[in-house]
């Protein structure tokens, strides 16, 4: 992970992190910040889903096995989103891992909210 300092006064929760990056949630802004590939990018609900779809759609196995002579680069351009990623194959695997972990954590958070917070004591 790069040396980006996140101000603690800002309402950020780390959702998931790996040694390649991290994803934080901002409750105040209803969005997520993705710290990956040297930048911190803000994604709202629609855009993070679009990013997930774009990353999951990449056929990593095919990229590994095909013998086409070309750079191992994928450009992830998300429609109506300010950010775009130009990633190598290794980075794609890392980003996919980061997103998968994040969505599992968000699901877990949903279960916790249901079981603990939404109950009337």
């Amino acid at each position: 992970m790069q040396n980006l300092t996140i101000r603690t006064t800002v309402d950020f929760n780390e959702v998931f992190s790996t040694k390649h990056g991290a994803i934080y949630q901002s409750d105040a802004e209803n969005c997520w910040y993705i710290d990956f590939a040297g930048k911190l990018a803000r994604f709202d609900y629609r855009n993070i889903l679009k990013l997930k779809k774009a990353v999951y759609q990449i056929d990593i196995e095919d990229l590994l096995l095909n013998s086409v002579k070309g750079p191992d680069l994928e450009i992830l351009f998300i429609c109506a989103c300010d950010h775009c990623y130009v990633l190598s194959l290794i980075q794609i695997v890392a980003l996919k891992e980061l997103l998968q972990g994040t969505f599992v954590m968000l699901e877990l958070n949903h279960i916790i909210q249901d079981r603990l917070c939404r109950l009337i004591g």
Partner: protein, 176 residues
Amino acid sequence: MKDIMRVKCLLSADVEALINQQIKKEAHSSAIYLSMASWCNRNGYDFSGDYFFKQAEEERVHQLKFFKYVLDMGGNAISPEITNVKAEYNSFREVFEEALDQEISVTQSIKNIAARCYKEQDFVTIEFLNWFFKEQREEEYKARRALELFDVIGEEGTGRWQIDKHVGQITYDSEA
């Protein structure tokens, strides 16, 4: 931590994907019925042609119902691409056999969505799907009845002309 995913959308990703698949299925079904209407009309079975025109419209209405539900619940409804629409049939009977197959496949597919919803305890979507189950009862009845006419009336002589005349009169009025 806020549960933003749930705040934004009532549907789980899996249920949303299944409904989007269903939207495609209904659109495909509508296109097939239109194709059947064309075949019947071309071959002189005008009443059956009208029957399939109506079926095509109904399937389109179903598609939009699913489409709007996904949007209303905060999801992403995807307008589907429709390919593989059969244009030619070998016989008048074959058209109705395929129409019944089509309806059965739609019913099964909605059952599959409901099964997923029960697993997730998505009772909201189950309640929404109940309307479709009632509708499918009618659709399957009509398709099965039309096929029955081929056996009851018989295709010999003016049989097909009789069948064509009666197809438009099939109704299902069970209040159960």
